[in-house]
Amino acid sequence: EDKVVQSPLSLVVHEGDTVTLNCSYEVTNFRSLLWYKQEKKAPTFLFMLTSSGIEKKSGRLSSILDKKELFSILNITATQTGDSAIYLCALNTGNQFYFGTGTSLTVIP
């Protein structure tokens, strides 16, 4: 069974749009939830979330965790073509990392 499920699987938007990517999980006891961006090669770290309700922001990207409802969202505002990538969500249980299969985002000029 998948411990981390991301939705949608893929998304195509126009530059300037705002997108919301979802990550739901079934593990209740975990250390942190992480978001990564994967372009053509290796994933790069975006955010780490450990507490429910605290928003993390970096420029146009923001993320929040809801431990009660077991999900996290990643928001990207004013999207740019450079945001086109696969966005991965991962759960750190302390002795395992579980990744979702990712959301493929394509931003059209």
């Binding site: 290796a42 770290f45 991962a90 750190n92 990392f97 990744f99 299969t101």
Partner: protein, 111 residues
């Protein structure tokens, strides 16, 4: 140059052969990880290491062996390669579990 490197970047081998994928980092990070990435499965943790001489199994360790005699190196060995081990392999390192920096990946094809 500082960073994390993997070698080889591409490898073709045959079923039953032993293959070793190398991972080297220059940051002196305590943690190192090996993942495989396959369509439909995303990234799956194979093994990780919290420090030299300490290794632990991840989600999919069967068919793989690791060692960590030095902090900077974390080789992954497929003792007898199978077609199901065709994948892209990523190594990562970090000063903490969460802060993982990924290498460029190794594409492995087992015929």
């Amino acid at each position: 140059d500082a960073g994390i490197t993997q070698s080889p970047r591409y490898k073709i081998t045959e079923t039953g052969r032993q293959v070793t994928l190398m991972c080297h980092q220059t940051w002196s990070h305590s943690y190192m990880f090996w993942y495989r990435q396959d369509l439909g499965h995303g990234l799956r943790l194979i093994y990780y290491s919290a420090a030299a001489d300490i290794t632990d199994k991840g989600e999919v360790p069967d068919g793989y062996v690791v060692s960590r005699s030095k902090t900077e190196n974390f080789p992954l060995t497929l003792e007898s390669a199978t077609r199901s081990q065709t994948s892209v392999y990523f190594c990562a390192s970090g000063s903490a579990q969460e802060t993982q920096y990924f290498g460029p990946g190794t594409r492995l094809l087992v015929l």
